[in-house]
Amino acid sequence: MGLVPAMFPEGEYFGLLAEYDSPKALFHACEQVRDAGYRKWDAHSPFPIHGIESAMGLRRSRLPYVTLVCGLTGAIGGMALQLWANAIGYPMVISGKPFFNWQPYVPITFELGVLLAALSTVVGMFAFNKLPMHFHPLFGADRFEKVTDDGFFISVEAWDPKFDAAATERLLTSTGATRIQLVKRREGAAS
């Protein structure tokens, strides 16, 4: 196991890494990989490419539901806490107002709703992206360094049900990849 995250299944290879020479080539390659029915694959680029999510066939994120549930939890919790504390737990007369009144609790209800919504969005974003991830098998591929500079890549993971080293390589070649390499699961590229 070691540095390799447990989320990747066992096996000798991580998958195939295909390199493209332009964002446009990557974009169209993504459409073909998507149409070929692959699920466990990703595109890598130094900068965001407009419309790539539909070219990759990505579904919409589930993150908004996390935000909604946690935001409502925060709001309801905030209101409930204040109502209980001020009206039931520790009733105190404050400037002649009734114990049980909703008006002064609205700002804190709102704040707690926003707070939990915002925090859960950040935490949820990390969780859905499987972050933090301190090592990734692709770091072993020497060409992959270019992804922070001028390299455009598609990686197809070996545990994709449709993955077949030879057939997948043929597909990636046909999408216009300039270079394809097999990436080992632990250290470095195989070829």
Binding site: L68, G96, V106
Partner: protein, 399 residues
């Protein structure tokens, strides 16, 4: 002089001819409404109050249009160019509101108790306020508001139309330079107009938030009207393929945001007055908690905020024009109730009394507004054809 690239839109997509029928419908509605309002109101005070609500209602839509155009210009918004002309057309009706103001000026003694000498004589507060609250200054201020609003609305509208003909990109630059001035003047005039025409119905009461309150409602109104007008154009075969679901989604996002903003302002005003508990401030809400006024206020909290808040939250709803038409119609009704709830407790102390005069005055002002809107819209393209950022707007997509 550089020319904007020609965009492939055919004339059926941008023809405003379909709006011509609004002119006739509006004119008929206006005449019938005015006649009915005058005939029905044996009580002239009722007529003036109904007129004031209807006037503020349609004025808020047109002013919202001015704000929307100014904010699109000042932010150099690319996305909104495709639907900007529709909003410009609403804004361009502003000059007619100077004419529609005449009944309010004529009815000032019925509407505004501070104009009655016998009331002012018994009120030290009103005497103290007389440097501001006197008829001459009131009239002068109204003139000033109309000059500012009509000036900016007409200039922005005609310049945009001029660009259709000559494609001059410098027009965009010039309007962008002028828009910040417009926004500042808009903020001042709208705030003071709200104080003059709405807040001073109860001249001894004041709230520093009142101008923003009216403004927040007016933005909700113009966004709703924009959604309705785009869908009206769709039904007539215009704007299809120009204003897309992506643009509607963005308008719906703004609508979602501004219903929250309205609630935020409405609650803040209520909350501060509730907390401080000073009689001269609480009187406003005391009057509005009598009888059915209280139910109306609660209904607003739900109908003007909670319902649209949860309704407009999902992305899928913001991309369905049928649902957007439904919520826009609902919010326009809520906006009317909001203004009615602000104005009418001054006249009807015991509870809400929505009567035939209200409907008639609404038809009268609304008819004139609709006629002006139809007249403006039918005389030019429904899309700013040679705006330099139109291609950007046409290809706009939400991420």
């Amino acid at each position: 002089m550089s020319h904007a690239p020609a965009v492939a839109i055919d004339s059926s997509q941008y023809s405003g001819r379909a709006f011509a029928r609004l002119t006739g419908i509006g004119a008929a509605l206006g005449v019938v409404g005015l006649g009915a309002a005058l005939a029905l109101s044996g009580d002239t005070q009722q007529f003036y109050f109904s007129w004031l609500v209807a006037y503020l209602y349609f004025l808020s839509i047109a002013l919202g249009g001015l704000f929307f155009v100014l904010i699109l210009t000042v932010t150099r918004a690319g996305w909104g160019v495709a639907l900007r002309r529709v909003v410009e057309n609403v804004m361009a009706t502003l000059p007619i509101f100077a004419l529609l103001f005449v009944p309010i000026w004529l009815g000032r003694h019925e509407l505004y108790e501070w104009t009655r000498p016998e009331v002012a004589a018994h009120s030290p507060i009103l005497q103290g306020k007389s440097p501001y609250l006197n008829e001459g200054f009131f009239f002068a201020r109204a003139i000033f508001y109309f000059v500012v609003w009509s000036g900016f609305a007409t200039y922005f509208s005609t310049q945009s139309q001029k660009q259709d003909e000559n494609g001059d990109e410098r027009i965009s630059a010039r309007l962008r330079g002028l828009a910040p001035v417009g926004i500042m003047l808009f903020a001042l005039t709208t705030t003071f107009a709200t104080i003059d025409w709405l807040m001073c119905l109860e001249p001894e009461w004041y709230s520093t938030m009142f101008g923003v309150y009216f403004f927040s409602g007016s933005v909700v109104a113009i966004l709703s009207v924009t959604l309705l007008l785009v869908n009206f154009a769709y039904a007539q075969g215009a704007l299809r393929g120009v204003v897309t679901v992506e643009h509607l989604q963005d308008v719906a996002k703004l609508l979602f945001g501004f219903t929250i903003f309205w609630a935020y302002i409405a609650f803040s005003q209520y909350f501060l007055i509730w907390y401080a508990n000073i009689p001269e401030e609480t009187i406003y809400y005391m009057k509005r908690q009598v009888g059915s006024w209280k139910s109306a206020g609660m209904f607003l909290a739900f109908g003007h905020f909670l319902v649209p808040f949860f309704f407009l939250m999902p992305r899928a709803v913001k991309r369905r024009s049928g649902l957007l038409v439904a919520i826009a119609t609902w919010l326009l009704m809520m906006h009317f109730l909001d203004l009615h709830w602000c104005v009418m407790p001054v006249l009807h102390h015991d509870g809400i009394q929505l009567g035939a005069t209200d409907v008639a005055a609404f038809c009268a002002v609304g008819g004139v507004f609709l006629a002006a809107l139809g007249w403006v819209s039918s005389r030019r393209a429904l899309v700013p054809l040679r705006d330099p950022r139109l291609p950007e707007s046409l290809s706009f997509e939400n991420v």
